[in-house]
Point group: C2
């Protein structure tokens, strides 16, 4: 690496702070666009309690809006939640230079097209984080487990930028692989997320173990997974059917834990209903593929999410 | 009516206490088999706060088990919840005489066959209560709204006993009709119960109005209703498809209210998961009819119910 890459993070929650913190540790120049956490991060930087070892760092610049950032970023890493009310293009547009790579560290399916249509000439890297991490308070991140990252040039292929990021991550013990078919990788992640995230909320705050141990509930998990596989295939991203058994097997070995959606629900934060379920349900409708189990979860989750957010005003 | 009918109530919750109280008011001799509420009811009788006018009454006998009842009942009215752990035949067997009519004032579908096989020579009347009523405390019932009752000789037809009960109810302003096809009437009630009861719990404590006002949720309501209709038809009890629109229309006019299942959930009481959903899902499997929306609700409700009951021990 000849030049320190200039990186700007938009969405300074747990995932974004953790991974950009590791990039800073690897020598990158990292700046933060903060919102609610501006004052704490500007004053104290970011502290990351991590199973990989605690560390802290100070972003090069801490700004309230990307327009206040003084440089020209090589990478804009977007780690906001995927919510209808968050317009990512408008959050980053002012600093998207012709050489800027936009990296999406976000959940869900079919989240790249709006970014690609807003910035058709920029490289987009789509990323999947497999990690248990939460924000304890502004500027203070708790990394409990896992941490693997998968990065892929969108829609397909290899790129020097993806390789550069992966090398940086691996240099600081974050296991990061590049994947030439990131869309299929995203579908594979949805195979797990689509059942377990919504169901953990709808079943009254259930852990993965509780869902696995209830036969009727496990059957629903599997039926949702089958619909995701059918939908992935319909969209040209087939996944081998043995993948479901492998996911179930892996999950049965996991320490029982609360999904990220359940943590959001319990924290009275908006859940990524549209990114995880809504986009899939709409794609299925376009493709005329029946997905009744996904639609059932979607019909319930939209309402519980709305009620949960409304309760904030109580 | 030449002779006062002798009636024994098993299941002295809100529904049973209300309706047998009205029968006492109409001149019947009513005795109670009490469990947790034995002492209060024996001491003070039953007080019913009702939109039809408050009233109180003392059961002729208050016993802890039906074997302690001194007479031979003309009617045993069963108004327990329908739960796998409640074995109705064993609760009533000792006083089921050859002339005893067994009346089931209970929710759900396909609940009569176990009673019929235990007492093949007795008349069974299956009843549906359309009422908002709750038990405020032992011996104290609050009747808030509605109250219509539908009674039918099981499996089909007319009977003097059903007519006698209906006449008693109507004499004290409880609107009671007899129905010669009570199985279809039960399916019709399930058309409403199968979506709204479970979904009110799963969507985080939603009122009927909240479910109606969320388009994705209303779509799920309608899809569940369609599956119930398809299943009713498969079992030989066809319901006109316009019935769904009528139910939706009626519900949109109702004062927003919490379903009985939601009240049970909030009260940490067992929900009638098997009577409302489990029996339907099993019937569908027998008939090889796909009911993915019902199965989705069932897969979630079994777990949330189990967790809710376990929490009682907290």
């Amino acid at each position: 690496m000849t030049k320190k890459p200039e990186i700007v993070l938009v969405g300074t929650g747990a995932v974004g702070s953790f991974y950009t913190g590791k990039l800073a540790q690897a020598g990158a120049s990292v700046s933060f666009v903060c919102r609610s956490d501006f004052e704490e991060v500007q004053k104290n930087g970011v502290f990351i309690k991590s199973v990989l070892g605690d560390y802290s760092f100070r972003p090069k610049e801490v700004v309230r809006a990307i327009s206040d950032y003084s440089g020209t970023p090589d990478y804009i890493i977007v780690a906001t939640k995927v919510l209808p009310e968050i317009n990512v293009p408008s959050l980053i547009a002012e600093k998207v230079d012709k050489n800027t790579t936009i990296v999406l560290l976000q959940n869900g399916i079919n989240i790249e097209p709006p970014i690609m249509s807003a910035f058709p000439d920029n490289e987009i890297i789509s990323g999947l984080a497999f990690i248990c991490v939460s924000r304890e308070s502004f500027g203070c991140i708790d990394h409990q487990d896992y941490g693997r990252l998968v990065l892929g040039t969108y829609p397909t292929g290899k790129s020097p930028r993806a390789e550069e990021l992966a090398a940086l991550f691996n240099s600081v013990d974050v296991k990061c692989e590049t994947n030439e078919d990131i869309i299929t990788a995203r579908w594979k992640k949805l195979v797990w997320n689509a059942p377990f995230n919504p169901m953990s909320v709808l079943a009254g705050g259930a852990t993965t173990r509780e869902m696995m141990n209830s036969p009727e509930t496990l059957k629903l998990v599997q039926n949702v997974m089958k619909e995701v596989l059918a939908l992935a295939e319909k969209t040209g991203n087939p996944i081998d059917s043995t993948f479901i058994d492998a996911m179930i097997e892996d999950t049965s070995k996991m320490t029982p834990y609360k999904t990220s959606m359940l943590l959001d629900y319990e924290g009275k934060r908006a859940m990524e209903v549209e990114a995880i379920l809504g986009n899939a349900v709409r794609l299925a409708a376009e493709k005329k593929l029946p997905v009744p189990h996904l639609e059932s979860l979607y019909g319930l989750l939209t309402l519980i999410d709305r009620k949960n957010i409304e309760n904030i005003a109580d």
